[in-house]
């Protein structure tokens, strides 16, 4: 079944975007460079953008991670990443289970804080327009009239807000907090081995 683009976008917004920061944290754990991480994440989105439908995907987070894993493997095959311990680190891209841990649930709720902080951190004009457009749903034309600017300006500021949002999605407090927990567990395991 083909799904409309709008449905797919909506699904990605709910089931993929919230996990991007965590994915990036895992990739960083594999000591991939920021540029490599950007490339891998971008390739993952590209693959998703080619799907006709997402209705068959039960777990977006798992799908995202699995796609990223596949991208990494492809890069190894094409010798784009040359690190001896990469294959061992690949395990960190596996999801252990589907059940959301309390940490993951907490971070799901922390998304609310993320969005609020993100919007609060926007430059003044940009925040005003972004809030009017995205939070209050005021049409672009009306914002332009209300603020006495052209629609182009409104569009530009909304795009700027989105740009900053995209940057912030890649960096996330909750993700880092999670990563620390996992790193702690990992360290304890290593100690057990010796």
């Amino acid at each position: 079944m083909r799904q409309s683009r709008r449905d797919i976008i909506s699904w990605v917004g709910r089931n993929i975007i919230p996990h991007e920061a965590h994915l990036r944290a895992r990739l960083r754990h594999m000591a991939a460079s920021e540029d490599e991480i950007d490339d891998i994440v971008q390739e993952a989105y590209l693959r998703i953008s080619k799907l006709d439908t997402v209705a068959h995907i039960r777990n977006g987070r798992a799908y995202f991670f699995a796609t990223a894993r596949s991208v990494v493997l492809q890069r190894i095959r094409r010798k784009r990443i040359v690190r001896i311990d990469t294959l061992a680190d690949m395990d960190s891209l596996e999801l252990e289970d589907d059940v959301p841990s309390p940490e993951r649930q907490a971070s799901a709720r922390a998304e609310l804080r993320r969005v609020k902080k993100l919007i609060d951190d926007l430059p003044e004009r940009c925040r005003e327009i972004f809030t009017l457009r995205r939070i209050e749903g005021v049409p672009q034309r009306e914002i332009a009239a209300r603020l006495g600017v052209t629609e182009n300006v409104v569009e530009g500021q909304a795009a700027r807000g989105l740009k900053l949002l995209l940057k912030a999605i890649a960096v996330d407090e909750a993700g880092r907090k999670q990563n620390r927990h996992e790193a702690d567990r990992g360290q304890r395991d290593n100690v057990g081995q010796y």
Binding site: I9, I17, Q105, A108, E155, L162
Partner: protein
């Protein structure tokens, strides 16, 4: 990854979200995308990020602060807790004064919003659209609704269940997952229940049509709860009090086509001109009239903007070899004269 690709993608995402692109804009977008395949991924990401932020609309500006405060208090407690099952009435009571809402397993928690023209309807709200109006809006529980032309619905969201009464017309719902609170649409005697799903309900003569785009719903006639029927993604169901059974048929492409109104379009694939005109007429004051029965039986294929009956008439006339007479209050399609 070039930062400027993301910047450009952000601009395109904002434009796409604002409304249909002009031909020139569409050409410019296609040209931009054609340069590098990666841009498709960047555009998807930008558009999805917008959708992600959109869910904050359910909160409304004032409640955003209060909701964040509650979350922060909750989250502090969570880090010290033993792992517990996903749901928890304990957390609900913590949110006293704010109608608690669906907790998506992976995703989003939303709250009671203000009753205002721009923000989501409150937990009890009445919504009506005029002719040709298509409105997308968040509901107080974090679900999203797209409401079609000339429709009326009453939203009633409570701590133990979420009810939407579709009094007239058609609406599509993307339901925030909440196993503790079933989401039920009532359309006349028809009942449709979802847990975490996307589906539409349309009132029709004597009953209601249900189209499911994501997940599964169960549907039944009031009073006949034992005869519930599952309708899965890609299937269409029709229920009527006069019918002994719920009719369900898998028709994935038709389901998507039938929901093109959410993007302001009518997608036809062999419907007759009469059927097509009847559909277009839902969206416009100026009505299409086809008096000749043989002409009305001609079949039409294509995508049409629902708010452009003239364009439709001209295109349809070309397709079937008819002529168009445009008047101030109606548009008539007639057989081509001798």
């Amino acid at each position: 990854m070039s930062a400027s690709i993301d910047d450009e993608a952000a601009l395109w995402a904002v434009r796409l979200e604002a409304g249909p692109l002009s031909n020139a804009q569409r050409a410019a977008l296609d040209a931009w995308l054609a340069v590098d395949e990666k841009r498709h991924g960047a555009l998807l990401r930008a558009e999805a990020a917008l959708a992600y932020v959109d869910r904050a609309r359910a909160l409304g500006p004032q409640n955003l602060d209060q909701a964040v405060l509650q979350h922060e208090r909750e989250e502090e407690a969570d880090w010290d807790e033993e792992p517990t099952p996903a749901s928890g009435l304990g957390r609900r009571t913590f949110l006293s004064g704010i109608a608690a809402a669906g907790v998506a397993v992976i995703g989003w928690t939303a709250f009671q919003a203000f009753d205002g023209p721009r923000t989501a309807g409150g937990p009890q709200a009445e919504i009506a659209t005029v002719v040709g109006e298509i409105r997308r809006m968040p509901l107080a529980d974090g679900s999203t609704a797209a409401i079609n032309t000339s429709s009326r619905l009453a939203v009633d969201i409570r701590p133990d269940r979420r009810i939407v009464r579709l009094q007239e017309g058609e609406a599509w719902f993307q339901v925030a997952r909440d196993v503790e609170r079933p989401f039920i649409v009532e359309a006349g005697a028809v009942r449709v229940q979802a847990v975490g799903t996307a589906f539409s309900v349309r009132r029709r003569e004597g009953g209601a049509e249900v189209l499911v785009t994501e997940g599964v719903v169960t549907a039944w006639i009031e009073g006949r709860e034992t005869e519930r029927r599952r309708i899965e993604a890609g299937a269409r169901g029709f229920l009527s009090a006069e019918m002994p059974r719920v009719e369900v048929a898998a028709a994935p492409d038709e389901v998507e086509r039938a929901l093109a109104w959410r993007d302001g379009e009518l997608a036809l694939n062999g419907e007759t001109l009469s059927q097509a005109a009847a559909e277009m007429n839902r969206y416009n004051r100026r009505q299409l009239v086809i008096a000749d029965p043989a002409l009305g039986r001609e079949q039409i294929v294509g995508y049409f903007e629902t708010n452009e009956p003239e364009t439709f008439a001209r295109a349809a006339a070309e397709l079937v070899g008819a002529r168009v007479v445009i008047e101030s209050d109606e548009i008539r399609l007639l057989p081509a004269g001798p």
